[in-house]
């Protein structure tokens, strides 16, 4: 038997090991297989840690660029042509308003739809269609939502390039996510909870409101926070609906024009000057800090819910 043939069989070793005659060649072959396994596992190990190190690299790059710009003046000034006078006040306030409006719009509708689909809807062709539809909505690129927002809210409803247009567009974007996470959370509520409530004479809504929802609440809240942190970072839809990049005032009502943190970052990054890139890094630190805070809250809620059970 040629060496090559043996190797080929060694490759299939698991399926037909009996053809391998014990001997020098066989031992040689076995040690090669083990070497291959060792190399493979180390490569996988190295690649994984390399990927994880990218996060460190990213944080390092951002903080080495941006930390020195981060002071009270930066947080409390409006954008400016002069880097040393520029700040992110209007962007931070705009982002907070935007998220506030998205919370008011998207959460009731999203959780409501989740409740309906999981608790009330009968399993038929329609509900399967809705399910498929939501899965596909979640995969639509965010910029397409931006275009839809531009066509409906900005142009169609005549809401102009205002906070409310931005909030409605963002709500469309994160609604599928909220529906999915609410359903997942509601699914985990044991059936016995519902049976107990119904057996005591509660109506379906009473059961849902005072038993299912409170039990599913931590899960829903965690999912909502994650969905909102996606909304905070989204840039493309806001650019589409024309969130202004230079706003030297604070919005006072939902019909005012606004800017948001990611828009401000985009604006600064797309300028050629080095100083503006560093300003962008400063704004990124604020944005990432906000995201980290939200994620930490989500983890904390999940942890508390787990320890209470």
């Amino acid at each position: 038997m040629t060496r090559r043939a043996i190797n080929n069989q060694a490759g299939m070793g698991a399926s037909n090991p009996l053809n391998l005659q014990p001997g020098a060649q066989w031992a040689d072959c076995l040690s090669r297989r083990h070497r291959k396994a060792a190399v493979f596992s180390r490569v996988c190990f190295a690649v994984t840690w390399m990927a994880a190190a990218l996060l460190g690299l990213l944080f390092y790059q951002v903080s080495s660029d941006g930390l020195r710009w981060l002071d009270w003046q930066f947080l409390s000034s409006f954008p400016s042509r002069f880097p040393e006078r520029a700040g992110i006040k209007s962007a931070v306030v705009g982002t907070l308003y935007l998220i506030g409006l998205v919370i008011v719009i998207a959460i009731p509708i999203g959780v409501g739809a989740g409740l309906y689909l999981q608790e009330f809807a009968t399993k038929n062709r329609l509900s399967r269609l809705v399910e498929l539809n939501i899965a596909n909505l979640a995969g639509v690129p965010s910029i397409v939502y931006g275009i839809i927002g531009l066509a409906i809210f900005v142009r169609g409803f005549g809401l102009e390039r205002s906070l409310i247009s931005g909030a409605l567009t963002m709500s469309l974007l994160i609604m599928p996510m909220i529906i999915v996470v609410s359903r997942e959370a509601i699914k985990t509520v044991p059936l016995s909870t519902r049976h107990a409530a119904l057996a005591l004479g509660a109506t379906r809504w009473q059961t849902t409101w005072s038993h299912v929802l409170p039990t599913a609440f931590p899960g829903i809240l965690t999912g909502i926070i994650l969905a909102l942190s996606r909304a905070i970072g989204e840039t493309a839809p806001l650019i589409m609906i024309g969130a202004l990049t230079y706003v030297a005032f604070l919005p006072e009502g939902p019909m005012d024009s606004f800017t948001a943190l990611p828009i401000q970052i985009y604006n600064w990054v797309s300028r050629p000057q080095e100083e503006f890139h560093q300003l962008a890094a400063g704004a990124i630190i604020v944005l990432l800090g906000l995201l980290l805070l939200m994620n930490a809250t989500a983890i904390f809620i999940r942890y508390r819910a787990e320890t209470r059970l």
């Binding site: 399926s15 990927a51 996060l55 690129p141 397409v144 409906i152 970072g233 589409m240």
Partner: protein
């Protein structure tokens, strides 16, 4: 009358008719509040269907307007994309090509790394390592895309230019790299889930036959979880195609049919951003190109998403 009503009630009880609605059975008032809540929840769910309908209607309507001016074949097969200047040409191929170039580059980077990481996490890593590395990779997924754009411009491109001086400031390569980093967590998480779902008994069987860990992984575990892995690749590719901010910042705005990763290109998404940054009047042909490009984008990503769901369903190995 009263007797009739009672009789009817008893019949209903006996035959089990109307048992879907207890209120009728016992002749009480209908709970209007309950009904109202039920309907309003239904309305919420219906909104999600309406979103899709609205997306399709709006994209369709404006695209039809566009295709009244420009022939479909000119749009899909033309190799000149200059809708914003004179002479205007509406061949979408250059920006589709840009998108494909970025997506291809991102996939070449993210698929091997993502699969290797998923294998490491599911097959080799200890529980502690897993619980550290997985959240780190998930954090990578949570970083806004505009931050990746910043990273591409201020770190990746300068680093690449130190090695490859002929690289342009805006280039497809650094766009592809950051998009690759961006879709990596998606591949890792979904593939890892697919590998984890492969029952241990298959691994133990292979080990018992004398296979090494490499053979167990590549010949048993990965083939068994292949549908999930393939689905994760398709989803990640769909995500890369729809990715906007990073490629806009990193790859530039030059519609270009070039094969080179070193030159500036423009993706479909970057074109949409470029138009919306200018003050394009509604109803004009430039405004309509937005919808034509977005429709194409929508159809491509939708196809990929549906394909990934189909793969999951069709090739799903069920172990009982």
């Amino acid at each position: 009358m009263a007797v009739d009503k009672r009789k009817a009630r008893i019949t209903a009880m006996m035959t089990g008719k109307r048992n879907s609605d207890a209120n009728h059975l016992y002749g009480r008032n209908i709970r209007w509040g309950e009904r109202a809540i039920h309907s309003s929840l239904w309305l919420c769910a219906a909104l999600s269907i309406m979103t899709t309908v609205v997306i399709v209607i709006i994209l369709g309507k404006e695209s039809i307007g566009f295709f009244e001016t420009v022939a479909l074949s000119d749009f899909l097969l033309g190799t000149q994309w200059t809708p914003l200047f004179e002479p205007a040409a509406y061949g979408v191929l250059p920006i589709v090509w840009g998108t494909l170039l970025i997506t291809f580059g991102a996939a070449v980077i993210a698929i091997p790394i993502g699969l290797a990481s998923a294998i490491y996490l599911s097959e080799y890593a200890s529980v502690t390592t897993r619980s550290i590395v997985k959240p780190i990779l998930e954090l990578l997924a949570g970083i806004p895309t505009v931050v990746y754009g910043y990273f591409a411009l201020t770190f990746v491109t300068p680093a690449l230019r130190a090695v490859l001086p002929e690289l342009q400031v805006f280039n497809a390569l650094s766009g592809a790299i950051v998009v690759g980093i961006m879709i990596l967590p998606m591949i890792v998480t979904l593939s890892d889930n697919a590998l984890k779902a492969v029952p241990d008994i298959l691994r133990q069987g292979a080990y018992a036959l004398g296979a090494t860990s490499y053979e167990v992984t590549t010949k048993v575990v990965v083939p068994a979880g292949f549908s999930g892995i393939l689905a994760s690749f398709l989803l990640a590719i769909s995500r890369a195609i729809g990715e906007t901010m990073a490629v806009t910042l990193a790859a530039g705005a030059t519609p270009n049919l070039s094969l080179s990763f070193f030159e500036s290109i423009q993706t479909m998404t970057a074109y949409i951003v470029q138009v919306s940054l200018g003050d394009t009047p509604a109803g004009g042909i430039a405004y309509q190109t937005l919808f034509a490009v977005a429709t194409l984008l929508f159809l491509i990503t939708l196809t990929l998403n549906v394909a990934s769901q189909w793969v999951l369903k069709k090739y799903n190995e069920v172990y009982d």
